[in-house]
Subunit: 311 residues, 2 copies
């Protein structure tokens, strides 16, 4: 709970440290992804379309959370970068499909024109399909060149990714989000949407880090609670930023939730109460890491950082 | 090569046998899929949309090939139905996405309005995404209730499915197909499209049957050659049926390749030479099964059957 207290000198240091940590881990993931796709021999437009969205920036939060959870369980992050990077393929696919005219119809993402604006809708759909499928290819080919994660653990990781990304997670949340446009917000539906649409894959990212380290059940429970809490907080902050942020800083069109009549936390609770809720969730996330030692400090700091992010 | 010689009495019997075989295996897959989705608690429209396309009929050729390959290697098909059924989820997702206006823009599939015509484009995209992701969930959760397929074998199966369905397989083929519309057909591009778009996932289906049975390298080579041959033959027959078939029998709009200026075998080689090529491929497929005993008879018969299909 006191990991980041902005009043103290040591805390400013810790905030700098976590920014450094995030940057370094993001570089690992980006380096891997760059190499991975540079050697892919596939139709040129398809590759361009996938790489365009993958390299448009992004914080790589899901891979970083996976790496940080692996470290919290005593692992060396470098050993599992390809598995962590698979999460970014899944996340990027979801952004490409969400931005399509039939879905959220967005023109701007990470400060650049959305994928279908550049490559056309057909290729954008295929780029998304390709990224999602390639994620499972990455997760399942581990036994070739990486240090030994036992096959049974990897299989569990594949299943976890599918659960977080699929009909009981992200896809289910997106479907409910689509169905609930123009509806009056109610607390239960809103929680369902946010839990599934965003928190599920974030929680899976954290859990996958633990599973890759073959952690104990108790550790996995802690990571699960942490992931679910920060996942929900992340989406609430997203909702708030859509109301209060500026398009240039966000990299996507501000105010679009209101325009599309989306169900959001600020709409139901107001921004102030929403901010409080996000804070409570982050507190809960950090409490859930109680059984972990200082190797979980990056996870603790990331939770605080996500609360204060501006994009 | 003489498995089915239509002149003899025993051959008519064999043709009846294979129809029976296909029907029984299809029933196993359908029963599993029906039960699997009946218990799924996801947003109602999403579930309806997925089940609509899954239950629109279809021959379940990919699951059946997986089951038949498993039997050819000495396995009992009932033991691996969920893994085989996952292939139908992948196939169905690809049909839903292909039919979208931004892709092939088809109104009719398996004799019914296409998914997006009934549920809207947004939900159709999500139904496809959901089916694809759920396939990987099915493939990776084997250790819960099924007889032991070793985790390392299952992991290989997950990777194989991703390869056949992804950017080096089906998605890559679809992308090239989309890029090649209105282009003059050339043999190399046409072969690339058909190999990736259709043959890759069919070959993977056969290979997965072998992998699930932990078959020898020699057996896997035979299954691979068989699968690649019938996969290509399957698409050539599809091209011919689009020219010669009738919409009512096909269950999809006849003549649509010509209308969309697709690269096809009949367009490049004429229907007669295309039919010969398909026949040669089926012969090659059956030859590739040389090292297998009579347990591979259904695979041999399926190859002949695919050549003579009318939809």
């Amino acid at each position: 709970m006191e990991i980041i207290n902005l009043k103290s000198e040591s805390t400013r240091q810790k905030l700098m440290d976590i920014k450094n940590y995030l940057r370094k881990k993001k570089e690992c993931v980006d380096t891997f992804l760059g190499l991975y796709f540079s050697s892919a021999i596939v139709p040129a437009n398809l590759k361009e379309s996938m790489v365009y969205s993958l390299s448009a920036g992004g914080k790589r939060i899901r891979p970083v959370l996976c790496l940080a959870a692996y470290e919290a369980c005593g692992g060396v992050a470098d050993d599992i970068v390809p598995y962590a990077a698979a999460l970014e393929l899944i996340h990027t696919y979801s952004l490409i499909h969400d931005d399509l005219p039939a879905m959220d119809d967005d023109d701007l993402r990470r400060g650049k024109p959305t994928n279908h604006k550049v490559f056309g809708e057909g290729m954008a759909i295929l780029a998304g399909d390709g990224l999602l499928t390639e994620a499972f290819s990455l997760l399942s080919r581990g036994n070739v060149s990486l240090p030994a994660v036992p096959p049974a653990a990897l299989l569990r990781v594949v299943c976890e990714a599918a659960k977080g990304a699929g009909i009981y997670g992200m896809v289910g949340g997106q479907a409910q989000d689509l169905l609930s446009e123009n509806e009056e917000p109610d607390a239960e539906t809103l929680l369902f949407i946010h839990r599934c649409k965003t928190a599920a894959l974030i929680a899976s990212s954290v859990r996958m880090g633990g599973m890759l380290a073959c952690c104990s059940d108790a550790a996995l429970s802690g990571l699960t609670a942490y992931g679910e809490n920060i996942g929900l907080a992340f989406q609430i902050v997203d909702d708030i930023l859509d109301v209060e942020g500026e398009t240039e800083v966000l990299g996507k069109t501000a105010g679009s939730d209101e325009k599309k009549k989306k169900m959001t936390y600020p709409k139901l609770y107001g921004t102030e109460r929403s901010r409080e809720k996000a804070g409570e969730l982050v507190d809960g996330a950090i409490e859930a890491l109680e059984i972990f030692d200082e190797k979980a400090d990056p996870l603790r700091a990331v939770a605080q950082y996500l609360l204060k992010r501006e994009n």
